[in-house]
């Protein structure tokens, strides 16, 4: 038999990455996501007087039109603040919020899912109950209440997203733990005397990682969109520019015919979200090609 040396000897992960690299649209989206991440990191520092430009009120210089001046490429807003600088700074808040909420959520979801799926019994009952309660209440209600009571800080908002968002992932983790309790590699590890903790982290979680990654990416997009809703309700992070805050501020400016804020913030946000959604899809197809549109199953058992 002729060995196909392209596919022989590559791990599933390497194969996935190879598939991903071949997906041009997916890679382009990935580059865009990276650029935004870079922007977010830059936006964290006061390079080129970024923060000053974003926050300095200058009522002489209100509503400069976009593309009309070098010093304010995207114009200025209601208070004469530089719109581009604000959009760049907003990238920071929105991206960090998505990332932080995701990072808070993962341990909750994985722990809860693993506990209830692997140990079962009372742990399962309690966690299932908690999940059913959280699912029954609209998430936005909990988030709004938490932020209302605890304040509009970055940390609280991220935590609120995590508290309401972990159930979906935990369900999947639970499901696959229930399944893999019976799998051979887990049985084998048990026979070799591996402890539960070790089994969970060495044997079961790695098999779930691709699902978790995809979930993280899509969750990211959802949080960025929800931040805008919070901003509209006056509950987004206080005192810093965020895409939501910018869009919300532009409400009054529109009627007077000033579009700078809305256009800048929504273009930044749209580009990032579209890239993230497309990248999420490519990632899922690459990690789990079974889900792809191809009809490999047809004509075959």
């Amino acid at each position: 038999m002729v060995a196909d040396n392209k596919t022989v000897g590559a791990s599933p992960f390497q194969l996935s990455m190879r598939r991903l690299r071949r997906d041009k649209l997916g890679m382009a989206s990935f580059v865009i996501v990276l650029l935004f991440t870079l922007t977010a990191v830059i936006g964290n520092f006061n390079v080129f007087g970024l923060h000053d430009a974003a926050n300095s009120y200058n009522l002489e210089n209100r509503y400069v039109k976009a593309l009309s001046s070098w010093s304010h490429p995207l114009g200025t807003d209601n208070f004469g603040r530089d719109v581009l600088a604000r959009a760049v700074m907003s990238t920071r808040i929105s991206l960090f919020l998505g990332a932080a909420a995701g990072l808070f959520m993962l341990p909750i979801a994985i722990l809860a899912g693993a506990l209830s799926g692997y140990y079962g019994r009372w742990a399962d009952s309690i966690i299932l109950y908690v999940m059913s309660v959280i699912v029954a209440i609209p998430g936005l209600l909990i988030i709004m209440s938490l932020v209302q009571v605890l304040g509009r800080t970055f940390f609280i908002i991220a935590l609120a997203f995590a508290i309401t968002g972990w159930v979906g992932l935990a369900r999947v983790v639970r499901g696959s733990f229930i399944q893999s309790r019976e799998y051979e590699y887990v049985l084998a590890a048990r026979c070799l005397g591996a402890g539960s903790f070790r089994i969970i982290f060495r044997h079961i979680l790695p098999n779930l990682s691709h699902f978790i990654i995809v979930r993280f990416v899509l969750n990211f997009a959802a949080i960025i969109k929800s931040e805008v809703l919070l901003a509209f309700l006056g509950l987004s992070v206080l005192g810093v520019p965020s895409w939501g805050n910018m869009i919300d501020e532009s409400k009054q400016e529109l009627t007077a015919g000033h579009w700078q804020n809305l256009i800048a913030a929504s273009l930044f946000m749209f580009t990032f979200l579209a890239a993230l959604n497309i990248f999420g899809d490519s990632l899922r197809d690459a990690l789990d090609p079974k889900l792809k549109n191809s009809s490999r199953k047809a004509g075959h058992k």
Binding site: Y129, P138, N293, G299
Partner: protein, 313 residues
Amino acid sequence: MLSYIIRRMLHVVPIVLGAALVFFIIFNVIGGQEKYIYNMLPQKSRTPEQFELIRERYGLDKPLIVQYLEMVKSMLTFDFGRSETRKLPVNLLIKRHVPVSAALTFPAFTLEIFTALGLAALAVSRRGQRLDKLLTLLSVVGMSISMLVLIMLGQQFLAYRLGLFPISGWERGIGAVRYLLLPWLLWVLVTIGYDVRFFRTVLLEEIHKDYVRTAKAKGVRSRDIMFRHVMRNALIPILTYVVIQIPFLLTGTLLLERFFGIPGIGDLMVNAISSYDFPVLKAAVLVFTLFFIAFTLLTDILYALVDPRVRLR
């Protein structure tokens, strides 16, 4: 069947207990009493006497556990008292606002679901071709636009500049339709991207199953394969997805309600949270949990109707 429904409705109790606990913890425990009362009182009446009055009226001087039990009791007996900010019985407020939200939500939702299903079926029957790619692209676009931006643009252009719709407002009775048209349209635009995509995935998965090939081997037309075979099987995941969303629609339309001045439950609730109007909040939470349980129950019953393999136990 009836005993099944009754048994399922009893699940309401533990869920209400849990939901009550979540909000009790947030407002009474984490938030704390002082803050609670402070926020409840209008600015000019924040005097020590008023504090005492409120503390007594809402039983805030009692131990936490008693307070919690009283909260649960009022929820399970539908006894919410009066709204602190609106000065009206809570039950009346709920009775007024829920139908308004329903009028906003259900027509828009139904229209959107059927359009999305149709588009998804179209995409799947032309899978891999230009139309499919276009629809997929459009749904990504739809998913990536912020709802707020869409609403603002819609109001700005379609209502304000072109005058096709009223900018905002509300009236009782059939005249409300005039004010609902634009919100309906916007709702469809906001949600259709996600749904087309989800339905497309479900239908695509279904269309590669063996029974579809059997139907084709019988000589069934591809349109009939899609509607008589694929759709009926896909209905099971689609139902779960659709029915579970319904209770949340009420919050989903919150933005529309506030933007267009529609006095629905979302609007009521946002105000309740920001003014610590606890009686209204309790009632709203109860309404949502009841809706949720009712619709999960409905899903299960529909399952049994659609799928002969499912038995209600």
